[in-house]
């Protein structure tokens, strides 16, 4: 039976390996057909910013991978509103992540759900497994 897996992303992308490792594990979870959700809190919201370019630092820019998550049925991406605001960011600063709804003639829908801290607490409460990165 599929379990509800929540991946908590809490760190900025290139200073540590956590963000990249989280993406790898998310794709593994999705391949095993689990019910996958992602949350981005704290510096984790920096993982989703537009316009990342790692040409000068010798590391792979893995930010395009987030746009592929929809193809793996990973379409519940929660971004904590307070964390965005504290960092002077809004949804417009983040990549536009979408998925195609098979049940509605492949209509394109937004994957990112902007939620308050208390709304996110409720979502986390409802999960079976929480993995923090």
């Amino acid at each position: 039976m599929a379990k509800k897996f929540m991946y908590m992303n809490t760190k900025a992308p290139y200073g540590t390996i956590y963000a990249l490792e989280s993406l790898e594990v998310v794709l593994i979870g999705a391949a095993f057909e689990q019910d996958v959700s992602l949350a981005f809190i704290g510096d984790g919201v920096y993982q989703l910013t537009k316009g990342q370019n790692t040409d000068g630092i010798g590391m792979k820019n893995f930010s395009p991978t987030y746009t592929a998550l929809g193809d793996y049925d990973v379409n519940k991406i929660y971004v904590e509103k307070e964390s965005l605001e504290e960092r002077g960011l809004s949804l417009d600063d983040l990549q536009h992540l979408t998925w195609e709804d098979e049940d509605e003639d492949w209509a394109e829908k937004d994957s990112i759900r902007l939620v308050s801290r208390s709304e996110l607490a409720d979502v986390i409460e409802d999960q079976d497994v929480i993995l923090s990165f």
């Binding site: 908590m8 809490t10 990165f133």
Partner: protein
């Protein structure tokens, strides 16, 4: 669904405890271990926040507090557990949220 949160970072060098307290629901437990134990020591802002947190139970892993010489400074009302107590906490809760 009762959740056991585990925090292993000092509140002075990391925002993990704040993040945890921001999302922890009433009825959950927070276990402080490794450098997380400093958060429970008297005279700190974090110990004050812990004492005032409504509906959340706090515990400290005794061997980690002892190793750091702060076992005698753990604020009142915070339970001190040993490794067996840690295992009991895991077993008593529906899931574990291991904060990083």
């Amino acid at each position: 669904m009762a959740t056991l949160h585990t925090v292993n970072k000092s509140p002075f060098g990391s925002s993990v405890l704040d993040d945890c307290l921001g999302l922890a629901k009433s009825g959950s437990t927070v276990l402080l271990f490794e450098d997380g134990v400093y958060a429970a020591t008297t005279g700190t802002k974090s110990a004050e926040a812990i004492t005032n947190a409504d509906g959340i139970t706090f515990a400290v892993l005794g061997p980690d507090a002892k190793a750091r010489g702060v076992e005698g400074k753990i604020a009142d009302g915070i339970k001190v557990v040993d490794y067996d107590g840690f295992v009991d906490l895991v077993a008593e809760h529906d899931k574990v949220h291991a904060w990083l």
